[in-house]
């Protein structure tokens, strides 16, 4: 059935007005009586042992209610079962500048801040590691004792016969690519409010309720239970509106646990909202990645083998790291047909904030390298870059050499569409000097086929309840974080039940009310929670159909649910469009909802008198069903099918997905050859999302992905000096402003996935990865330089241009290399500086006597 009434239509987000009018509430908007403010003390050192913490001076300050430190919650946790290496507050060691040391709960922010200054911490400074390749050589002073060489995890995969592939090739390209570290920069800073209830029976401390800006309420509930040693049933996590996550809220962030610990100690609700700088420290963004890539092709452009060695600078904790490094390898597959793959991935620990999941998790940086190299190879063999991509297409349904099952595959159409719309064939190579076109492709999972918690539980479960007034309530654990999951859920429920969208109310992401869902990340919600919603709605629909069919004296299969009514496929009365009197139309739904209570009795009576009907209103059908079955509820859940769960090799669990989205993009840029500035004029972005349940929403996601990709391509970069983040704010960390946002032409491609809800797949991450190489390739087309390091800042572009022209080398990029720590340490910030000057600020750590003396070496 392709004729839908709700899905496929551009629909405003169901929570849009709440956001635009300001009536919607984010976590920081919430206040409770007696609520305290929590502020966190952060480590000034990148790597140090905590010898002693003395909170007595701070505790004596008026207005301070409680101070908590690592000892108050010593259990470790981490998002991955293999990575329980974090403590909400440091226990014995701090591992990055910004690591969490203590938290003050006080009556207001100023008091809490003042108290932070009064906490005395004695550190023993340890040598720190900032560069992953250096860090891998570490023998002593490891970041985590159980991780030799500071290696979080390494994987070595061989699929097919890479050596043979290399031998068979006619052309080889080999290069090192570097993608620097970026972060999500979500608008809403993380915020958590935690409250313990007094148990009404015993008077003791009772249940915990936590409101938090999270993408994964269930994981938060789980980790809280672990750290606080409380049963999960005693913990309720509620997700208010969230102002963007992009992966930065897809795991448990220290403040979420710290707020709970502080609330427990203070015996009062505690709210903590991060400053922007703290958001940068909490991070979990995309790691700086070093990619040594080798690609081989035949003369006709067919890829024979790929070899990638990937090093990720993961920061001080595991976070999602093991998954990231696996995605980087696994997603070499499933886009093109690559017969032989060798992958060596290293996730390395360094003394910086932990990297984690970020939009396009794991695939983006490697995709930049791969698509750039493919472009180089195309130039080498004199093939159109669009053609070389078309010559390496998969032939689905298939299983790739690394065990990924591909069914729906809209990539060919995506390439065709962007080539056509951008005028590629006519314009490529014929633009004025300094202006160019570049093409690149990408893909992404529609949710992971294997959840990070190894269990057989469904990934999503949805409950639906319908009351006598025809109101449909959908209970889902899926977290709306601005991406539109509530709208998607409402659409699928309404479409399936044939009722209007206005009838559907979504209750989401409240662990007391909603069944378990593993959250909003890896683009899984539409596919998985969508399927669960579909199944729940179908279950309810079946019950309604059974009752309605009785009333209409027909078989349930004969009934159609649509436009707030239920009618027979080939009803006698049906002259109008769908076999029911046209004039009854939508007014039935409106009055039905408003006056349902009053009308119901008389309507029922009337219907009874009139005998069997060919149609009923939705509400009448619901009443019939409730009278017939009792309560009208349905439940549906989704778990990915076993066939989609991937190969058996070590690490083979990451990468498989029930379906992949596909994307192709053409970027048009110009380069100022004197300044190195790159301007993106337009991006044509085709994305195969299976089916566009809500086209405006899909377009929004595509445009957002392109924009975010462009930020990483041109301006965004976390700059480090000796473990100090030089740009921990949105002024110096430069996400593009509206001024440099290019025109984006989103093109929706619908491949109708056999397993997706109504054929839908993901649409919010896959596009991002194509933007960076599309821009890189367009720069190459414009001025003939191949850039190997992202972002393409003007100084990097200019340096490349000068090298190309053999001009005098002015070292334009020296000094911004984040891996050059020697400089800063040589002259010593006072971090490494000892002794001088009696006028030092009293807070200057270098002024402290004692173990700080040990500072300096590594």
């Amino acid at each position: 059935m392709t004729d839908f009434s709700i899905i496929g239509k551009p629909i405003a987000m169901v929570d849009a007005a709440g956001k635009t009018t300001g009536s919607g509430k984010y976590t920081d908007d919430l206040n409770l009586p007696g609520m305290l403010v929590g502020r966190i003390l952060h480590s000034p050192f990148p790597h140090a042992r905590i010898k002693r913490i003395d909170t007595s001076r701070a505790a004596a300050l008026d207005g301070v209610v409680a101070i908590v430190t690592g000892k108050d919650a010593p259990n470790p946790y981490g998002i991955l079962p293999v990575g329980h290496d974090e403590h909400a507050l440091a226990l014995d060691k701090v591992r990055y500048v910004g690591d969490n040391v203590a938290c003050v709960a006080a009556i207001d922010e100023a008091t809490a801040d003042q108290a932070l200054e009064l906490i005395d911490v004695e550190y023993e400074v340890l040598p720190a590691y900032f560069d992953p390749e250096e860090s891998m050589k570490a023998e002593a002073d490891l970041i985590h004792d159980n991780k030799p060489h500071n290696l979080e995890k390494d994987y070595h995969h061989v699929f097919g016969d890479p050596d043979k592939g290399f031998a068979d090739a006619d052309h080889v390209a080999e290069a090192r690519f570097i993608a620097n570290e970026v972060t999500h920069a979500a608008m809403e800073p993380h915020s958590t409010l935690a409250q313990f209830e007094i148990d009404s029976q015993t008077g003791k401390r009772g249940r915990l309720t936590v409101w938090s800006s999270t993408q994964v309420p269930y994981y938060l509930q789980h980790k809280l239970s672990l750290v606080l040693e409380m049963p999960m049933a005693q913990i309720r996590v509620i997700k208010p509106l969230v102002g963007g996550g992009f992966g930065g809220k897809s795991e448990v962030i220290p403040l979420e646990i710290i707020a709970a610990i502080a609330a427990r100690a203070a015996r009062a609700p505690v709210k903590i909202t991060y400053t922007r700088e703290e958001v940068f420290w909490a991070h979990r963004g995309r790691p700086r990645t070093i990619i040594d890539l080798k690609t081989c092709v035949k003369n006709d452009g067919r890829i024979t083998a790929v070899k990638a060695r990937v090093i990720q600078d993961g920061g001080a904790y595991c976070s999602y790291g093991v998954v990231t490094i696996l995605y980087s390898g696994a997603l070499l597959g499933a886009l093109y047909d690559i017969p032989n793959i060798q992958y060596d991935g290293y996730r390395v620990l360094t003394n910086k904030p932990a990297c984690g999941a970020m939009r396009g998790h794991g695939t983006v940086n490697v995709r930049f390298a791969f698509e750039s190299q493919l472009d180089e190879l195309a130039a080498k063999i004199n093939l159109d870059p669009a053609d070389i991509r078309q010559r390496n297409l998969l032939q689905p349904p298939c299983v790739t050499v690394n065990g990924l099952r591909v069914q729906s595959y809209g990539l060919p159409e995506c390439i065709e569409k962007v080539v056509e719309r951008s005028g590629w064939k006519q314009r490529k190579g014929k633009l004025p000097r300094s202006r160019g076109l570049g093409i690149a492709c990408s893909h992404y999972v529609s949710g992971a086929a294997n959840s990070i918690i190894r269990s057989d539980m469904p990934h999503s479960t949805v409950n639906i309840k319908i009351d006598r007034d025809g109101g449909v309530v959908v209970y889902t654990g899926a977290s709306e974080i601005g991406q539109g999951s509530d709208t998607m859920t409402a659409q699928i429920a309404a479409e399936t039940l044939g009722c209007s969208l206005g009838r559907v109310k979504i209750v989401a992401a409240d662990t007391d009310l909603t069944p378990i869902d593993i959250g909003s990340y890896s683009s899984r919600v539409t596919f998985m929670a969508g399927n669960a919603t579909l199944r729940a709605a179908e279950q309810v629909k079946k019950q309604i159909a059974a009752a309605a069919a009785r009333k209409m004296s027909c078989a349930p299969e004969e009934l159609i649910f649509r436009d707030d009514s239920v009618f027979r496929k080939n009803g006698h009365v049906g002259t109008a469009a769908f076999g029911r009197p046209a004039e009854q139309g939508s007014s039935a739904s409106v009055s039905g909802r408003v006056e349902g209570q009053i009308l119901r009795g008389s309507l029922q009576q009337k219907r009874k008198d009139e005998g069997p009907k060919d149609w009923m209103t939705f509400e009448e059908a619901v009443v019939a069903a409730i009278d017939f079955h009792g309560a009208l509820t349905g439940t549906g859940s989704y778990a990915p099918p076993p066939e989609a769960r991937g190969g058996k090799h070590k690490g083979g669990g990451v990468g498989p997905s029930p379906a992949y989205s596909y994307s192709a993009q053409v970027a048009e840029v110009s380069v100022d050859e004197e300044t190195g500035e790159v301007t993106v004029h337009k991006v044509w972005a085709a994305h195969d999302c299976g089916r566009a349940l809500n086209p405006v929403s899909v377009e929004g996601q595509i445009i957002g992905s392109v924009w975010m990709g462009m930020g990483q391509a041109l301006t965004e970069e976390m700059v480090w000096k000796d473990g100090m983040l030089m740009n921990p704010g949105l002024l110096e960390y430069r996400s593009p402003s509206s001024v440099e946002s290019p025109e984006v032409e989103p093109i929706i491609v619908e491949s109708i996935d056999p397993e997706g809800p109504f054929g839908a797949k993901e649409c919010s991450e896959g596009s991002l990865a194509a933007t960076i190489p599309a821009i890189a390739n367009a720069i190459y087309d414009a001025v003939g330089v191949r850039l190997h390091e992202v972002p393409f800042t003007p100084e990097r572009v200019l340096a490349a241009l000068r090298a190309q022209r053999g001009q005098k080398k002015i070292n334009l990029t020296e000094g911004i290399d984040p891996t050059a720590p020697a400089k800063f340490r040589e002259h010593g910030g006072s971090l490494w500086f000892r002794g001088k000057g009696p006028e030092r600020h009293p807070l200057d750590p270098a002024r402290r006597e004692g173990p700080a003396e040990a500072a300096g070496g590594d």
């Binding site: 100084e795 000094g815 040589e826 030092r840």
Partner: protein
Amino acid sequence: MEEAVGYLAKHDLGIRVLAGGTDLIPSMRQGLFDSEHVLDIRHIGELRGIRPRPGNGVEIGALTTLAFIERADFLRRHYPVLTEAAATVASPLLRNMGTIGGNICLDTRCLWYNQSLTWRKGCGFCIKKDGDLCHVAPGGTKCWAAFSADTPPALLCLNAEVEIASASGVRRMRLSDFYTGEGDAYRKLQANELLTRVFLPESSADYRGVYRKLRIRGSIDYPLAGVAVAMKRSNGYVADARLAITAVNPAPLLVKGVTEMLEGKAVDEALAESVGVLAAKTAKPLTTSALTPEYRREMIRVFTKRAVMAVANGN
């Protein structure tokens, strides 16, 4: 006014002037100023507005917002370089609040300084605030924080003067004398003084003007290098010209020798290029700001060349 300077005299060191607050408030939040009092001068009406003084140029009140300056027809017609520079400051919202006085008095900036207290504690304090060493020029005793406002180079090209008031009276000085060239004590303004007016002389009126700014984003960003040029031409030859640069030194600077180099000449690429080289020599960018110093100096050369060409060709 009297009340205001009275407060300043009374509290002297423990007080800070707040005009638009777009620089002061973020800096206070970072703990860069810990003065006990803030003097809000926003409601001193006489310090707001643009007053042409026929024969004597124009007088601009210190509290006039940058948005107002950007839109003022009179300035656009007679002092276009100022209009151009004002229009590039920060973003529209900030220009609605930020004042010209605040822009002139703007604190110098440095990546090691414009950071939170926690950050600076971690890194170690520097000469400009609470410390005794410099992270940018190790071993030195001088602060090199970059003066990063956009309108002062334009004002320098226009030979602007500023009026400074305190309880003991009013003085007037050339803007070029207002800056010290030091990153920490960057301006000659005592804590008990108020900058009240800016004067643009009649003799600078009707110069063509261009301002070129290096920034990474098209909005919001402070200049990483900036070049202002004002030029008068007659019969296709340069009659007079001045050029000033910003964001690459602890003070905005008029580039010496530009007038002589251009005077009486017809501008062509080669000439513009040599002005560029001259300007680049005046620039001493350091790692106080994003992008590398080498790149920023190179951009002073390129932007100067472009600005000179643009102003000679009537934009």
